[in-house]
């Protein structure tokens, strides 16, 4: 019996390790490629490990391709969208969960219904709206529409529903108005859910591709994803450069992931609860 159990454990680890290998090898491979001298990726065996590592592709990408500029743009956009979502979704979520007003349930139902609307449908009309507002080729067009979020509101509402009513009643007796209650009691106690939504919004905006592709034209306004995508037209099959660029765009999110892993995992679990 015991031997059978150990055998089973080994089998499970073998399965999981094989899967993990398949997940990790592409990253390792691109990292290795990025440290090779350009050209040598075609001539030498693919399995040699570049030692000492050659940083020239990173130098080229940082000097020539204004990657720093793109990173700055992306950071600005992602940070503003995140802050905007945290502010508006927590306010709306609080109202939907705790404040009673006529039409609340109907309004909330409308919110839930918008979760069904695919992004591809609103993309074309939104572009036309942006064009009429004169917002094409601006960062505003990437920030402002992304702040309104039905999903974020839903998440916040679910969290605030679990807040004890007694606390609110007590606060009300002390003459605490809704804004004060929100600011002094609700927000300080909502730190985990704010972090979860924040991580989700930040990562989503950082990695967003299609909408920035539609909106941005100027080279100087590009986000990292757009910049990286345009690398292929300039550097075709210069894989060392392309891999260095990929690593650089992924790295900040991976760092964030290791700092806030708990909240990343939590955000996925909450998505699953939606069903």
């Amino acid at each position: 019996m015991k031997r059978k159990k150990i055998f089973r454990k080994i089998l499970i680890h073998l399965l999981l390790l094989t899967g993990a290998m398949i997940m990790i090898v592409p990253f390792v491979w691109s990292l290795l490629t990025s440290f090779k001298p350009a050209g040598e990726v075609f001539t030498r065996s693919p399995f040699w490990i570049p030692w000492p590592p050659d940083f020239s592709s990173y130098e080229r990408i940082l000097e020539k391709l204004s990657f720093i500029k793109y990173a700055g743009n992306t950071l600005k956009i992602s940070a503003l969208v995140t802050l905007g979502q945290l502010a508006t979704c927590s306010l709306a979520g609080y109202a939907f969960a705790k404040i009673r007003f006529p039409g609340r349930e109907k309004l909330f139902l409308a919110y839930i219904a918008t979760l069904m609307i695919p992004g591809s449908v609103v993309m074309i009309p939104n572009f036309i709206v942006m064009r009429n507002l004169g917002w094409v080729d601006t960062h505003r067009a990437l920030i402002i529409p992304a702040i309104g979020s039905a999903y974020g509101t839903f998440m916040m509402r679910q969290f605030f529903l679990s807040f004890p009513d007694e606390l609110e009643d007590a606060a009300k007796l002390d003459g605490c108005s809704p804004p004060k209650f929100y600011w002094h009691i609700l927000l300080p106690n909502a730190q985990p859910i704010l972090a979860t939504l924040g991580v989700m919004a930040f990562q989503g905006t950082w990695n967003d591709f299609q909408w920035p592709l539609i909106i941005l034209n100027s080279e100087s306004k590009r986000t990292l994803q757009i910049g990286l995508s345009f690398l292929t037209s300039e550097f075709h099959t210069d894989w060392t450069i392309l891999m260095a660029g990929s690593i650089l765009t992924i790295l900040p999110i991976i760092v964030l992931f290791f700092l806030a892993q708990k909240y990343f995992v939590q955000s996925v679990k909450l998505t699953g609860l939606k069903g």
Partner: protein
């Protein structure tokens, strides 16, 4: 979703229509910023898109009303036909893989084994990686002449495959990259669902003499069926809208073999500036998603646990 809505209903009936107006006003004020944004950038555009789909708008000249011409055109457009076929094949290949593989891994991870955080991190890395970077990495791995995968195949004496250049294989390659990228996400959802399954149910099944496979199919699957249901629906919606990988890896080629609906809509609207036709295609997608969701919900009762 519905569960969440019902949670609130009892409270409502308890103190019906007893609103304090001062509090109510704060409610509206708090909702306003988010609601306005949703209204302007989601709700109104949905209606506006339908209007656009009935015009020949090219952005360069004023739009004229063409009725349902754009919708009729979809059925006469041979490329649209190819696109729809590709999208269905893509969905039929990717969605089952995106259910079975993560479920298998989640079950393995749920066996109280060591190293859970390590494995979870490995499987989650592709999820947080941007689609553009993933495309670049796989362009390189799948390169016919110098890519890692073909170099491996050659070592084992196999012929190199044109992963992204052979029209018979390219769509499969996009499927594999899609599955690779989404695996960790679905796995975490399954793992969370599995951890909610009460242990004593398995103990009862053990007493009844059920073997592992019986337990899996008669206990585990029914108990996590809400998660399976949710991931099938979101999987279908995702694959109907696929854009990033196709745009960055194949541009719909070779020989239109990877033209997918999400990409085709973008191409019509923003490459050819056919806003009307693009919007009609987008609406077709919307209806398809709605139809599938409604269908799924109506059969949900038959197989999703807790709905009977």
């Amino acid at each position: 979703m519905d569960k969440a809505l019902h949670q609130r209903l009892p409270a409502k009936s308890k103190r019906k229509n007893n609103y304090r107006w001062k509090e109510s006003i704060w409610g509206y004020i708090f909702i306003l910023p988010n609601f306005l944004l949703m209204l302007v950038f989601t709700l109104i555009p949905v209606i506006f898109a339908f209007g656009v789909s009935m015009t020949d708008w090219s952005l360069l000249s004023a739009p004229t009303f063409v009725g349902l011409d754009n919708y009729v055109r979809i059925f006469q457009d041979p490329v649209a036909k190819i696109t729809i076929k590709n999208t269905l094949v893509f969905t039929a290949m990717s969605v089952p893989l995106r259910i079975v593989l993560p479920l298998l891994l989640a079950v393995a991870l749920n066996q109280k084994i060591r190293g859970l955080p390590f494995y979870r991190t490995c499987y989650y890395l592709p999820v947080i990686s941007a689609s553009v970077a993933v495309s670049m990495v796989f362009l390189w791995i799948l390169d016919t002449n110098f890519g890692l995968l073909n170099r491996f195949l050659v070592i084992f004496g196999l012929d190199p495959v044109g992963w992204l250049t052979d029209p018979d294989v390219a769509l499969l390659s996009i499927v594999l990259v899609t599955v690779w990228r989404g695996l960790g996400f679905n796995m975490i959802i399954f793992l969370a669902a599995l951890q909610d399954v009460p242990e004593d149910l398995y103990a009862v099944a053990d007493i009844d003499g059920a073997n592992a496979i019986q337990k899996f199919f008669h206990l585990t699957i029914p108990l996590i069926s809400p998660a399976i249901f949710f991931l099938i629906i979101t999987g279908i919606i995702d694959s109907f809208q696929s854009f990033d990988l196709v745009y960055n890896m194949t541009n719909g080629g070779p020989a239109r073999s990877t033209l997918l609906l999400g990409y085709y809509i973008w191409r019509q609207a923003f490459d050819y500036l056919r806003m009307g036709y693009g919007a009609a295609l987008a609406y077709l997608l919307f209806f398809a998603i709605l139809l599938i969701t409604i269908l799924q919900w109506s059969v949900r009762k038959r197989w999703v646990f807790g709905e009977q």
